[in-house]
Symmetry: C2
């Protein structure tokens, strides 16, 4: 079958975007080719809001067919939106002994395509995903529980950015070694030794992407595109509660691969029956050579210890800290923190959990504030931010699953409640579980409180922890990052020495630090092409999104040399 999308067409269409991405990861200045505004879509073949919603609605209650994916032995799927509606979508269930061998059949052609053409095909996949951003937004919203606007942006353009960033790193890494070299070594008066060499990036095998419930695309795309762009086939195993966004992704990838003349089975879906737990089975299959995982520490640690045949990239749990020492913009600080605690009901791996505040209080542009005043002011700031139900719904989204709700309810018993969680009604989705964050006061000097603040309490739960001094805060930060890991650290201080102390802890413990954020950038948000997501150097994650280490070991370079 002749390719419908030829290599020259793909290169003409996408090479400029790749070049801009390559420039962006070098300068780390702001850049994105994916519009954030919903109204930017609707022309040049992209779906506008109405068409995207209609495309999403058309999926509900139906089989999501992945044309020709081999080894289908059942149809599975029981997704229920955190907003209360049953999606009713079913997906092909795979006989792995049929599917995995089929995924290897196209690997030679994909390898021989070379790094540039692979990047172009990946960019075409991302472009088609981008065109359907409105459809994806609903799919992410109704699996993660994110509010629509967040699902649109984080699940759409920001996720696509992270995918493109991975393609750029993968391409750059593969072309560091030239395709050919002439090697001529002088031998004094004798003839030189001369060799002709070829260098070929070769894939490791099949990459397995194990998706998460809260950010199926944002956390799934880096591994998917890093593995695919380096020549591997990719099997996507979504979280059982968030299959739809990744199934749509797989369908688009298969279409583009086939239209470009490659084997569609280079990307496939592994949906599972309830309780089937196929991640464990898949992770130990000899065909699986790369694993990308986002989720619990327990399973991440298990993967690292047991999936020894694979390169394993994990993002696990962590405990994020903000040290509050002093500020010259108290209101800005409170607003910024209130937003960070509220966004998506704190269901982000980057949401601050422990707010370390000196028990003697802090200095601000509005005069000194005691520990109790700071916590009360923060509680008021959250209340103010979420006082209007429509705005609260737009920020909070829905509680993603009953475990989060149970943790939230239990948190109030851990200490004195500075801010109680309240229920918010969502008129559009009355069955949605919507809750505002709880803030609980703990004492860093009380051993009884340590169990609470030294464990990840994923969800809209934060602890205002009283510490004896900022030195104690820095030491508690160090211990927290070292023992529990952290995706983010924040700090507020106007004191250069304190800033230096906190920065040194972050450098020594490998944690990403945001200082004195009071405006429209939040500690829990990172931007592709500029910010690293995680460091890969503390227990929260063994890799960063995205850097050289994230891509360099997904392929190997095979050299063939002969006399020239």
């Amino acid at each position: 079958m002749a390719a419908e999308l030829t290599a020259p067409e793909l290169i003409a269409k996408h090479r400029p975007t790749l070049d801009q991405a390559l420039e962006a990861i070098r300068t780390r200045a702001y850049w994105s080719p994916h519009p954030e505004h919903p109204k930017a879509y609707g022309e040049d073949g992209s779906l506008d809001a109405a068409a995207g919603k209609a495309a999403f609605d058309a999926l509900l209650g139906n089989r999501l067919d992945l044309t020709d994916q081999p080894g289908v032995d059942d149809w599975v799927g029981e997704e229920v939106s955190p907003y209360g509606i049953e999606l009713g979508v079913t997906y092909p269930h795979a006989d792995l002994d049929v599917l995995l061998p089929a995924m290897r059949a196209g690997q030679r052609g994909w390898r021989d395509a070379g790094a540039e053409l692979r990047a172009m095909v990946c960019l075409e996949i991302l472009k088609r995903i981008s065109d359907r951003t409105h459809q994806f937004a609903h799919a992410v919203m109704h699996t993660s529980g994110q509010a629509f606007m967040m699902a649109f942006q984080a699940g759409g353009p920001h996720a696509q950015d992270r995918g493109l960033e991975a393609v750029a790193y993968a391409y750059a890494e593969q072309v560091r070694t030239p395709g050919t070299a002439e090697w001529t070594k002088p031998q004094g008066k004798r003839d030189p030794l001369a060799l002709a060499k070829t260098f070929t990036p070769v894939p490791r095998g099949i990459g397995l992407v194990i998706g998460c419930n809260t950010f199926p695309t944002w956390n799934g795309y880096p591994g998917l595109f890093a593995s695919l762009a380096t020549g591997n086939a990719v099997l996507v195993k979504p979280h059982p509660r968030a299959v739809l966004p990744l199934a749509l992704t797989v369908r688009i990838a298969r279409d583009v691969l086939a239209e470009s003349g490659f084997d569609a089975n280079l990307v496939a879906l592994a949906a599972e029956r309830p309780g089937e737990g196929i991640a464990k089975t898949l992770a130990l299959r000899p065909e699986i050579k790369i694993i990308d995982y986002t989720g619990s520490t327990a399973f991440g640690d298990w993967l690292e210890a047991n999936a020894r045949q694979a390169q394993v990239y994990t993002e696990k749990a962590g405990v994020n800290t903000v040290i509050v020492h002093s500020t010259d913009d108290y209101q800005g600080m409170l607003s910024n923190l209130a937003f960070s605690l509220s966004l998506y009901s704190g269901q982000m791996c980057t949401t601050p959990q422990n707010l370390l505040i000196p028990r003697d209080g802090i200095s601000t542009d509005q005069g000194p504030r005691t520990f109790d005043e700071v916590t009360a002011d923060l509680a008021r700031a959250v209340d103010g931010l979420l006082g209007d139900d429509a705005r609260a719904n737009a920020l909070l989204g829905a509680i993603v699953n009953p475990d989060v709700k149970a943790r939230l309810e239990a948190a109030a018993g851990l200490g004195e409640v500075a801010l109680a969680s309240r229920e918010v009604t969502n008129p559009e989705f009355p069955d949605a579980v919507v809750r505002t964050p709880v803030i609980v006061k703990l004492d860093g000097a009380k051993p009884d409180d340590e169990a609470a603040y030294m464990s990840e309490c994923f969800g809209p739960v934060s602890f205002a922890v009283a510490v004896d001094s900022v030195t104690d805060a820095a030491e508690l930060l160090r211990r927290t990052v070292r023992e529990k890991g952290a995706m983010t650290v924040g700090a507020y201080t106007t004191d250069a020495g304190v800033e230096e102390t906190i920065q040194e802890v972050c450098l020594e413990e490998s944690a990403q630090l945001s200082l004195n954020l009071t405006g429209g950038v939040y500690v829990n948000q990172t931007a592709a092409f500029s910010d690293f997501h995680g460091s890969g150097g503390n227990p929260a994650a063994n890799a960063a999104l995205t850097d050289g280490a994230f891509v360099a070991n997904r392929f190997r370079v095979v050299e063939v040399r002969r006399e020239a």
Copy 2:
């Protein structure tokens, strides 16, 4: 203490060399700043042959003091040269609970020096080592058993090249991310969001280099310099029979670090008592975050499974294959193979072991040759190459240890001997154990023979394995690489289809292939800056020397961002 070597001086002296190295790893053309010829040394502060020999002799029977290395609790060392002389050198034995904390003390200063200055200090270390190449040549000769000229070249300039290559990759990897970035995101009619960001490469901790007996410097330098250049401290644990070359290296590194204003304890030596086995203890210490190991598969696998707190880079055992199918230069092929089998008595991880030859014979420019004729002709070629004892000694060196000798002696019982090993007398070192290679005929179709050719028989032992066809040879090659690993693969064929088949096996199984070598380049030799040593994609090694993957995970990048 003011630094005796200032940063501007170091940069002026070494930056041009670094730039050339960076260019070389991009083009992979021939390049080396380290002369191969012994007569090139003796000017500009380097030791000539006599001075190098005298400097080596001065070490014998004495303590090798590492000024101020902390925690010395004993003096140890029982090295006996494979050439029969007792070195009598003793080395400081370390109390790890004193030494390891001391090694961390200087890490902040080393981190803050930045990637460029670290590279410059590494290049100064390499320059001082280069100046003492003649001394190192004797140290390598009398620990590895390599003949002088090989010890000089492989243990001197070639090892220094590999160290410099690692520095170049480490530098390039660290500067992929800029030190600072301004990030400005448009917000429509509102003010843009603006952040100032800093990015700092931070070390993982202490790197442990576990040296080997046969190539203490060549296999030790890549990991040592890759870890040091990325900001880590490095603890060198030499093989108990090959301490001297690495102890000299550590002494020079400590001198240069101190003279450059850094803590000498950033590089330290861990010598051990006989049978102490400190590698296992060290590998599990929490301070050790990186391990570079060359040696047995059993211990390499143990490290990978157990040293979970560390990034582990291993080069283990493998079974190297040469497929002999056809040639248009029969004599060149025989000469080339004879040299490869003889060099350093086959005690290289890259020496061919299994020569797969169709039982129906091969076609050559001198007409067809049967299996028996090829093996007999190869035996004659080896005999001719080693017929003169002086030349034999210069090529073979000495058997490095009794295990190799025992394997050599047992090999003759594995099948029909095509070439018997013989003893060679070394008039200069009468106690040296010098042996020519043995070639044993095996049958690829006999299950009884499989145990022999499917195991690594490290030393001067090769198997001429009769196979039914070149297709069978390719399949046996595939199985060997997949199950046992391979550092090198060679092939001789004039048939484009056969070449394609063998090349495809190597691409699929990640093995480095040398085709039709008949001149002065040998399958068991690789050149830094151009050839990869191993692929990191088959069981013989989990890393290649040197590529991006070898350096990218030795450090992490910590970002600090603040509002601009």
